[in-house]
Amino acid sequence: MNELIDALMVLLVLMNLRLLGSSRLSACIRTAALEGIALGLLPLMLVWKEGLSGVLIFLAAASVLTRGVLFPWLLLQAQRDANVQREAEPFLSYPLSIMAGVLTLVLSFWLSSRLPLPFASGTPLLISVGLSTILVGLLLIVSRKLAISQVLGYIVMENGIYVLGLALVREIPALVEMGVLLDAFVAVFVMSIVTHHISRQFDHIDADQMDSLKG
C-alpha cells in the first residue's frame, strides 16, 4: 500500500505543478477537484491494513463530495458569473511559477529531512509533499491577480494542511474532521459569493485593481 500512497503523493505534486503552470481557470478548477478526490481517498489507504470502519468511509465520502464536487461546482459558477476564461497576467509568469513550485518542493524535502517527528504514520513522503502543497497554495494566493485563482490557492493550502495532519495524527477525530470540512465549505461558499459581488460591482475580479478608487 505504501507504493500506492507514494504514487498518489507524486500525482499530487504533479497536479500542484499543473495548477501553477496553467492559465485556464476551468482547467485549474478541475485539477483542484482531482486533488480533492485523491486526498479524500488518502485516509482509506493509510488505514487499509488495520481494516476500514464505517465512520472512516463516511468521512472519506464526505471529503470527496465537498472537495471534489461541491467546491469545483461553486467555483465554476463564480467563473461563469464573472465571465473570465483565463488569467492573463499573473505577477509571476507561468514558467517562473513552475520553477518556484519546484523550489518549494526542494525546500520542503530539505525541511522534512531536518524535522525529526516523534511519531509519523504513512510514508515520509506525506510530510514533505504536505509542506510543499501548503507553500504552493500560498504562492498561488500571492502571485495571482484574479479572485478565483486566489480562492483556488486557499483550497490547495487547505489540502496541504490536510495531508500534513494525516501524516502527524493517525486518525483525526470525526467531529474535528466534520468541523474542518464545514469550515472549508463555508469559506469557499462565502468567497464565491464575494467574487460574484465583486464582479457585479466592478465588472472584473482582478484583486490587484481593487485598491484604485472608483468614482
Binding site: 507524486v10 503552470g21 507561468y94 514558467p95 513552475i98 519546484v102 518542493l105 515520509p124 513522503l125 514533505s128
Partner: protein, 312 residues
C-alpha cells in the same frame, strides 16, 4: 565482434530510417500515401554527389560546422549501448561526455549559422541556444537521477541495470524520467510541439533556419547527423521505458542477445510511430509557450532526482 556489429553497424545503417517511419506514420494518419520509407537514404545519396557552394563571407568555421557536429554525434553513438550489449566505449562518467558531445554538436551548428552573417540564421541560432538552456539541464538531471537509481556512472551499466525489479520498485521516478526524456527528445530533434520540421515559415523555424546555407555533402552530413542524434536520444528513452531482460531465460547466448536486440529495435519503431502520432494530433506550440513545456521537463527531472535521493 558481434558486439561491435550490433552497436555500430546497426545504428549507422538504420538511423536514417527513423525520420522515414515518422513521415510514414504522419502520412497514414492524414490518409496520404506518403514518401518512400527510404527517402532520407535517397536524399543523402543525391546530396553526396553534389558539389558544395560557399559564400565569400564565410570562413573555415562554416565548413567545419557540419563535420564537427557529425563527428560529435557519431562519438556519442559509441557511448550508448543497444540491446543489452555493452557500448563500444564505456567507462565511469561517460554520461557526462555524452551530454557534452551533444553540446559540442549544437555549438558548432550554431556558430556555423552565425558565420554566414545572415540575420535570419542568427535568429535561428538564438532560438536554438535559448531552448537548449532548458533542455540541457533537464537531460543532465535525468541522467543524474538514473545514475543514482542504478548506482553506476556508466550508461552501459545504467541502461542494463533497469530490469523488472527496478521498474516495479521505482515506478514514479522512472515515469518522471521518461516523461522528461520524451520532451527533451522532441525538443532536441526539432519535432512538433517545439519545432516543425516541415515548415519554412520564418516565424516558426528553429533548426531548419540554421542549416539553410549549407548545401551538397555538408547538408548530407547535417541530415545524417540529426538522424544519428535522434537515434542516440531514442535508444536512451526506449531503454529507460522498456525494462532490460534478464539473461536467464535461455542458455544460448545468441538467443538472448537476439531477443534483447529485437526488443530494442521494436521499441525504436514504436517511438518513431509515437512521434508521428504526436505530430499528427498536436499543433506546434506558440514560440512563447515553448519554454513553459521545457520548464515542465526540468520540473519532472528535478522531481525524479528528489525522489531518487529520498530513497535510502
Amino acid at each position: 565482434m558481434t558486439n561491435l556489429l550490433i552497436n555500430i553497424l546497426i545504428p549507422l545503417l538504420l538511423a536514417p530510417l527513423l525520420p522515414g517511419l515518422i513521415n510514414r506514420t504522419k502520412a497514414i494518419m492524414a490518409g496520404r500515401k506518403g514518401q518512400p520509407l527510404l527517402q532520407l537514404y535517397f536524399d543523402l545519396w543525391k546530396l553526396l554527389h553534389k558539389g558544395a557552394v560557399y559564400s565569400r563571407t564565410t570562413s573555415w568555421i562554416f565548413r567545419a560546422g557540419p563535420m564537427v557536429a557529425l563527428a560529435a554525434v557519431l562519438t556519442a553513438l559509441m557511448l550508448v549501448p543497444l540491446g543489452g550489449s555493452p557500448a563500444p566505449l564505456h567507462f565511469a562518467g561517460d554520461l557526462v561526455l555524452l551530454a557534452y558531445l551533444m553540446g559540442l554538436a549544437r555549438f558548432f551548428t550554431v556558430i556555423a549559422a552565425l558565420d554566414t552573417g545572415s540575420a535570419f540564421e542568427g535568429m535561428g541560432a538564438s532560438r536554438e541556444v535559448t531552448f537548449a538552456t532548458l533542455t540541457e539541464p533537464a537531460f543532465l538531471l535525468d541522467l543524474a537521477a538514473l545514475a543514482k537509481l542504478t548506482g553506476s556512472l556508466s550508461l552501459t551499466d545504467i541502461l542494463g541495470g533497469l530490469n523488472w525489479q527496478a521498474h516495479l520498485s521505482c515506478a514514479p521516478e522512472l515515469a518522471m524520467v521518461a516523461a522528461a526524456l520524451l520532451i527533451v527528445f522532441l525538443a532536441e530533434n526539432a519535432r512538433i510541439p517545439v519545432d516543425d520540421p516541415n515548415t519554412h515559415l520564418e516565424l516558426t523555424m528553429i533548426h531548419e533556419v540554421m542549416v539553410l546555407d549549407h548545401g551538397g555533402p555538408d547538408f548530407a552530413f547535417i541530415l545524417y547527423g540529426s538522424a544519428v542524434k535522434m537515434w542516440v536520444l531514442g535508444t536512451i528513452l526506449v531503454q529507460v521505458v522498456l525494462p532490460a531482460m534478464d539473461a536467464e531465460f535461455s542458455t544460448s547466448v545468441w538467443a538472448v542477445s537476439a531477443a534483447r536486440l529485437g526488443v530494442s529495435l521494436a521499441g525504436m519503431v514504436g517511438l518513431a510511430v509515437l512521434v508521428g502520432m504526436v505530430e499528427s494530433v498536436m499543433a506546434r506550440l506558440r514560440m512563447v509557450r515553448v519554454p513553459q513545456l521545457l520548464v515542465a521537463a526540468c520540473a519532472f527531472s528535478v522531481l525524479a532526482v528528489i525522489l531518487v535521493l529520498r530513497r535510502p
